[in-house]
Structure formats: C-alpha cells, structure tokens
C-alpha cells in the first residue's frame, strides 16, 4: 500500500522537474508527437529584443476578453507582460514562435475558496472585520496548480460566509512567483444571507451558551445594521481613545474607503442588502445572486455589479434558492456587469453560452469583467499591450466542450499539462 502511494505521489513530480531540466528541443519533439495535427514550434532562445522569455504567439483567433476578437492575431510576450497585440507582427530576430488555434486571456475567479488552510471563517464570533484570508493561505496547496491547468490564472480568495462581517479577501495569481499577489487585501466581505445562522440553530431553545445571535435572517440584518450604525456614530464623533483595528475598518467602510463585497442569493436578501446599503451609504459589490433574475430592475437601479456564483445544478445550503440556467444571459440582456465565479470557470462560460449568453460576453464574464469588478483591469483580464501575460491557448473553439486547453501562461511562464517551460 505504502509502495503504491509513494509511487503515485512520485508521478506528480517528474513533469515539473523534467520540464525544468531537459532542454527545449526534446520537449518540442514530445509536443509534436502529442499534438501531431498541429503546427507547433518551440525554439530555445530565452532572450530577444522583446525581453526575457520572449515569445510570439500566432493564433487563428485571439479573444481579447472585452468582447472583441482578432482573426487571425498575434501576441508578443516578453518580461512577463504582453508587449504587443495585432493582426500581424513581424517576428523579432531569434524569437520563439508558438502557433495555436485560439487564445484567450487567463481566467479570473472572483469568488474562490482555494488554498485556505485551517478554516475560512472564525467560529467564535459573527463580526471579524480585521481578519485577513491572506494570513491562512497555503501557497503549496496543489489546488493552485490545478487552477492553472484549468485556465484560471487569478483567484480572489474569499472568507467563507459563516460570519456576518467576515474579513478581507485577497487577490493573487495561481502561477508564477510564490506568493504572487495582485492585492493582499481587496475588500471586506459581508454575508446578507442565511449562512451565518447555520451553526447557531437549535431545535427549539438555545441549548448551550455557544448558540449566538443570529439564529435566523432577522438576526443577520440586525447584526449588520447595528455594526454599521455604530461605525457611523463612531465616525461622526471620533473619540481620542485608541481605536481598535476592527473599529477603524468599519469606520473606513461606512466612509467608502474600503471596498465591500456582500453575499446574497435569494431575491429578498438581495433587496435587503441594498436597503441596508442605502440606509448606511455603503456600496457593496454583490456576490452570489442566484435569484438575480427576479430583481434585475433592482440591480439596474442600484447600478450593481455582480459576482455571480449561482450557476449550479443545485441550490446552495439551506437557502434552496431558485436557480435558472439562463440567469447569465438575462444579466447580459439587462446590461448588468457580472462575472461568472466560483470555480470551473471554463465550464461555466461554456454552459452560459449554451443557455443564451453571447460567445464573447461569456468569455468576458470570466476575464475582463471580473478584472473590472475587482478593480484590477490595469493588470489582468484582457489581451492588451501592457497587461500581464496571462493567456490560455486552445486547440479549438474555447466554448466547445471538446476543445482541449493546450497550455496556460502566467506572467509569461508556460504551463502545459505538466510540461512547464
């Protein structure tokens, strides 16, 4: 048994080490054998006029990520950045040229839970604004690599929804340097949903001292309102006494100095979220949105942006929200900015397209839209000069279920099903 286990484990390692150790032409041969139907050339020059690790990618279709395409298109990468994008680029001398069928930006999961070690929420309190997910990230977690292989190059790792005011999420790359932060603390996560009641329910009366408010949504609403009210009062009449970090964060929040994200799934929770937001003058980004299709006019009126995680075959948790497959299409029709999030991004985009979401909009919902919603469109989310070289190469139409990912690039570094270069 031990033998088999160790043997299996060893199977994971050679890809990476061989990739680093063996010279490029050998790999080129392997790749040519593997994808015999493709014209695929790798050359071993590591520097050129386009910078270190320069590479020119020639694609039949370049999906820019913002809804537009180049057909055909070329992308010049160097120094981990996209140097140029055009229909045709004259290859600099000695540059490595890669030919692929279709190219998209790396995918961005705006609501991820990967890599968190030791619990993504505090068990003993409902209000933990000064907690930071980044403190619990295990960068050695193999899930990061699995994300890369699935084309997800950036993840917004969020606290879980057990707490009403849960703490700060972090935004980082799944590949490249370790850790590869875009922003260690992006914004404060709130839960305007049933989840924080989950651990506090009891059959009838609270049976132990460890059952706390909230035991239902009325309590969730109260905790949110009371803490926001206190923060407003503390901001209006600051005391000279030393303020705790948590109080300072809450004060910053009601003054709009920190970004706020709030998880709501049912239509009435979404409405409640915006009712509370209006009462206290905060502008949260909505996360969840299972029943967003019921309140499209509310989202429109609130100029909401939505990190949509309701693209699932089953309702989440005890809420049993009513899900619809065409919610992404309806959001797009209503011109509500949204990202598809919560892992399996490529599958989500493919299904969203299957259920009526226009092709390039579906790709934008996992690339440029999450980048914009998270405020990092200057770094990631599109294939444009100056942005990070985070790319996904496909052997065919990315939205076809049968189209394989050929390789994934993070900051100019290629990950190819284990054969990293």
């Amino acid at each position: 048994m031990t033998y088999w286990l160790s043997n299996k484990r060893r199977l994971r390692f050679p890809w990476a080490s061989i990739g680093r150790a063996i010279v490029a032409p050998v790999i080129a041969c392997c790749v040519c054998v593997g994808f015999a139907s493709k014209v695929y050339s790798l050359e071993d020059s590591l520097t050129s006029s386009a910078g270190t690790n320069a590479v020119l990618i020639q694609a039949e279709v370049v999906h820019i990520g913002d809804g537009t395409t180049l057909q055909p298109g070329m992308v010049l990468v160097g120094d981990g950045k996209i140097q140029a994008v055009a229909e045709s680029i004259t290859p600099p001398a000695d540059i490595r040229v890669l030919r692929v069928a279709e190219l998209t930006p790396g995918f961005i999961d705006a609501a991820s839970s990967i890599g968190i070690a030791g619990g993504a929420g505090e068990l003993t309190s409902e209000v933990t604004p000064d907690f930071v997910v980044a403190d619990a990230l295990n960068f050695q977690d193999p899930d990061f690599r699995r994300q890369v292989d699935a084309g997800i190059t950036t993840v917004h790792v969020t606290p879980n929804t057990d707490n009403v005011i849960a703490g700060f999420a972090g935004l980082l790359k799944t590949g490249g340097a370790t850790p590869n932060w875009l922003q260690r603390e992006t914004g404060l996560f709130l839960s305007m949903c049933n989840d924080p009641t989950g651990r506090n329910t009891s059959r009838s009366r609270p049976e132990t001292l460890y059952v706390r408010q909230p035991t239902n949504r009325m309590g969730v609403v109260w905790i949110l309102r009371s803490r926001l009210h206190s923060a407003q009062q503390a901001t209006a009449t600051p005391t000279t006494e030393s303020t705790t970090a948590a109080a300072q964060i809450m004060s910053d929040m009601v003054q709009g100095k920190v970004r706020t994200y709030a998880v709501s799934r049912t239509s009435y929770d979404i409405e409640t979220l915006y009712r509370i937001a209006k009462e206290f003058g905060v502008r949260p980004t909505l996360v969840g949105g299972d029943e967003a299709y019921k309140v499209l006019d509310v989202l429109k009126q609130e100029q909401a942006a939505l990190i949509f995680t309701g693209f699932s075959t089953q309702a989440i948790g005890s809420e049993q929200s009513q899900l619809r497959w065409n919610t992404p299409a309806l959001l797009a029709n209503a011109k509500i900015p949204f990202a598809l999030a919560g892992d399996e991004l490529l599958s989500q985009a493919r299904l969203a397209h299957r259920f009526g979401l226009e092709r390039e909009t579906a790709l934008a919902a996992i690339t440029s839209e999450p980048a914009k919603i998270l405020g990092h469109e200057g770094r990631v989310g599109k294939i444009a000069a100056g942005l990070d070289a985070d790319l996904v190469a496909f052997q065919g139409d990315p939205l076809q279920v049968t189209s394989a990912l050929e390789w994934v690039m993070v900051d100019g570094q290629i990950y190819s099903n284990g054969k990293d270069q």
């Binding site: 049933n194 506090n200 009891s202 009838s204 009366r205 609270p206 049976e207 059952v211 706390r212 408010q213 909230p214 035991t215 239902n216 949504r217 009325m218 309590g219 609403v221 109260w222 309102r225 009371s226 009210h229 009062q233 049912t266 239509s267 009435y268 409405e271 409640t272 009712r275 509370i276 299709y293 019921k294 509310v298 619809r324 065409n326 299409a329 309806l330 259920f355 009526g356």
Partner: protein, 459 residues
C-alpha cells in the same frame, strides 16, 4: 335593505370551453402548447397567470380583462349585482369607479355615471366586497420567524424577509385576502416588529402599507425558557416583557422631551430601541400572542392599563372570552383564532369563541388563520365557522375587513369600499360566509391580480 347573503344568485347559462370547442381543435391546441419552442428567456412569473388548463375550470376569457402590470393604474368602472361596502347598508346593483388605484366613487348604479375613458367590467351577476384583511400571518415571507437567543428582540424586524406575491399569497388572493399582517413567531416574549402589506405583486416598497406594522409580543404558551434563564414561567416572562417595555418607554420619553424642547441635550440614537417611538406614541399597536383567561388578564393589566399601549388580542382563545366585559370596557380589539371554539365542561357544550366575545359586547371583533396554521386562503372559513357557532353574518363580514383594518390602524387605507380608499376589491359569486361561493376576481390597488375567467381557479 334585505339581507340575502345566503341566497346565491341563480346560475347563468354559459357554455363551457369544452362544449364550444370541438375535440380535434382542443387536441391541436394542446399539441401546439407542448411543442412551443424552448426559449432562453425564462418563463416569467406572469406565466403563472396563463390559462394552463384552458376550459378545465371556467368560462372563456373575456375581451376586456385587465391583466396586472406595474404600469399606470387603469381607470375602471366595475358593475356588480350586490355591493357590500362594510361602510353602510348593502346596495343591490352597484357601481365602483376606480382611478389611480383608489376608489373614486361607489354607490348604486343609477346614481353613478360612468365617465369617458373608463373600462367597464361587468360583474352584475356577482357580489363585490372589500379585500379581506388578515391580522395574523406568517406566510408572506421566508421562514425566518423566531430569533431564539434573546428573550426580547426589539431590534428585529421582519420586512427584510417578505416575499411579495409568493405562491402561498397567490392562493390567499383566491380566497379574497388582499392585506396581511406578517409577524414574527411566538418563540420569544418579544419576537420583533411585523409588517402590514398587500398580497399582490410588486417590490417590497410597493406592497408595504406600514413598516413597522405591529410589535409582536408573546406572553405565554411558547416563549417559556427551559435553559436556565429568567422566563421559565409566566411570572418571569411578564417580568421580562415589562423590563423591556420600560427600557423602550424611557428611551421614547427622552426623545419626546427633547423634541418638545424640555430637554437640552439630544439623546443618542439607539437603533435597538428606535421602533418603540411609534409604539409609545400610540401610532402602531402590539399584536399580542395571548390566550387563556389568566394570560389575557395580564395582557390587559400590563400592556394596556400599565403601559397605555395600543394592543390587539391576537388569539384570545380557550376560556379567555370570560374576560369579554373587561375587553369591551377598554375598547380593545380581538382577532380571535385560529382555534375558534371551546368545549365548555360546565355546559357540556361547544362554544364559539367569537360569538362569546360578541355576546359580551366586544366591538372590534375579527378572526385569523395564523397561517400556515390554517391556510391563508381559508380566512373566510374562520368567519364562517364563527357564524356557525352563533356570530351574525353581517358582523362576520366586517370582522374579515373593516374590523381588522381598524385594529391594525390602517382603516384609512383598507377594510371598506369608500371613496379615497385603496381599490382592493373582491368579486365573488355570493356571500363570502357561504363556503359554497367562490372568488371570481380580485383587484389590489385598482389592478387586477386574479381573475378566474383568465387564470385557473386557484381556490
């Protein structure tokens, strides 16, 4: 005017869809429905009003039915065979003019001319009455009824969890219910603040009549604590309720004094106690979960006599009606139920709760379903049973409409068909007290929300 409630109007000759349309055409229509292409735009909620089983239940679709929309409210002239206004004698052959969601005119048809531009809706074979008002409902929102940690919860409100026009309310409408008092449960002594709302479609802000609508207090028979806290019995629970009300009273008094200029410093806003302001200013009532003689006695003693608050006796069941005289003296309304009867061991007889209060002269009398304890659409059956046990039919109809509206302090909006009030109108085949009759059409705020001629009959 003669009261012929229990005499239904004679059936009119009408041909059903199934008799008029040949079988081959019906089969073809069904096939067309089945083959309708799947679309990426969802079957929107309004699809539920589509004639799913055309011809199965009712007559064909009339030409001029107003289907609900949130556009401008239509101008309607509704002609009815019998008009029960709950604000005066019944009228044979009446007209209701509706504009901007309000009742513009109501009276005998020969006294009301129909102005230009009004859509005429012909219900001359039917009765019209005000929409029913439910004083005790738990089905207008999610299941978040009881927040169980603290024994009193004045910081909690329930209008963040309402789900307007949810499937249960859609059926309630088919029972004629157009307004409900949605309240927290009785798991704690003070469950939180309830909301008064219409049962029709719309955003929460559109359907809410008043928020906070009522305070929910439960005095006994549910909120007893078993975990070692104060409030294991009635003495303790009354202590807990009193302490919480005193805290609220002090808070409101400070604000009242400040606002009247008798206090220099502005009190600090305490979000937890804010909703006590309308309560202690007697602008909203307490819906009290109280039943049995002793419990109702303490309701009168503490909440009314001592705290000087507006209250509604929210159950008043078991032997509490022996306090009817005391209730009458104080002018306190009783919205009785859901259990409407009691076995009197001395008489060896079943007594009707409502009739017993009525016999003792209690004025503001009504019934409730405590839905889902009794389904919301069966509110009228509660009144029917009260009549079965000795209440009068005329008072029972008021007990479904204007009396709960008065008790809830929203009778300026709903509860009767009077000029200026909300056009919440129920059209039915006869008296609502007669369980053989059924609701034909319902208007809320002047908009059609249910029409058996178009929808399936839901109840």
């Amino acid at each position: 005017m003669s009261n012929r409630f229990l005499t239904p109007l004679p059936p009119t000759s009408r041909k059903s869809f199934t008799r008029r349309v040949p079988i081959w055409l019906r089969c073809g229509l069904m096939l067309l429905l089945c083959l309708a292409p799947a679309t990426t735009v969802p079957a929107d909620e309004s699809n539920e009003t589509a004639p799913i089983q055309a011809g199965a239940n009712d007559e064909p679709k009339p030409e001029s039915t107003v289907i609900d929309s949130r556009g401008p409210a239509p101008k309607l002239a509704i002609l009815v065979g019998k008009l029960i206004t709950c604000a005066g004698p019944n009228i044979d052959g009446g007209t209701i003019l509706v504009a901007d969601g309000k009742i513009q005119a109501v009276g005998p048809s020969n006294e009301i001319a129909i102005p230009e531009g009004y859509e005429v809706i012909d219900h001359r074979e039917h009765f019209a009455m005000p929409g029913l008002v439910e004083a005790h409902c738990h089905t207008a929102g999610s299941g978040d009824l009881n927040e169980m940690v603290y024994q009193t919860n004045p910081e909690l409100r329930n209008w963040d969890q309402i789900i307007p026009h949810n499937p249960r309310l859609q059926v309630a409408i088919a029972g004629g219910v157009t307004t409900v008092c949605q309240i927290p449960g009785s798991g704690t002594n003070m469950g939180g603040w309830g909301v008064l709302m219409k049962t029709g479609p719309g955003r929460p802000e559109e359907v809410i009549i008043r928020a906070p609508g009522v305070l929910k207090i439960a005095q006994a028979g549910n909120p007893e604590r078993t975990g070692g806290e104060v409030g294991s019995g009635r003495i303790g629970m009354n202590h807990v309720i009193r302490q919480q009300l005193l805290e609220g009273q002090l808070y409101v008094r400070q604000w009242d004094e400040y606002e009247a200029g008798h206090r220099a410093t502005k009190p600090e806003v305490d979000l937890r106690l804010e909703y006590f302001k309308p309560l202690f200013r007697r602008e909203i009532p307490i819906l009290v979960h109280t039943q049995q003689f002793q419990v109702v006695q303490s309701t009168l003693r503490i909440l009314h006599d001592e705290m000087n608050l507006k209250i509604i006796i929210g159950h008043g069941t078991f032997d509490a009606y022996f306090l009817g005289e005391e209730v009458r003296k104080r002018g306190i309304p009783v919205m009785a139920g859901p259990r409407g009867f009691r076995y009197d061991p001395e008489l060896g007889q079943i007594r009707g709760i409502v009739a017993e209060y009525d016999a003792r002269g209690v004025e503001g009398l009504g019934v409730n379903t405590d839905s889902p304890v009794i389904p919301e659409e069966e509110l009228a059956f509660q009144a029917t049973m009260a009549v079965r046990f000795g209440w009068t039919e005329e008072r029972a109809i008021r007990g479904l409409t204007i009396e709960p509206a008065k008790a809830l302090m929203i009778d300026h909006r709903v509860g009767s068909l009077e000029v200026g009030k909300d056009a919440d109108i129920v059209i039915l085949t006869g008296s609502i007290i007669d369980p053989r009759q059924h609701v034909k059409q319902v208007f809320i705020d002047g908009r059609n929300v249910y029409n058996t001629a178009v929808d399936r009959r839901r109840f």
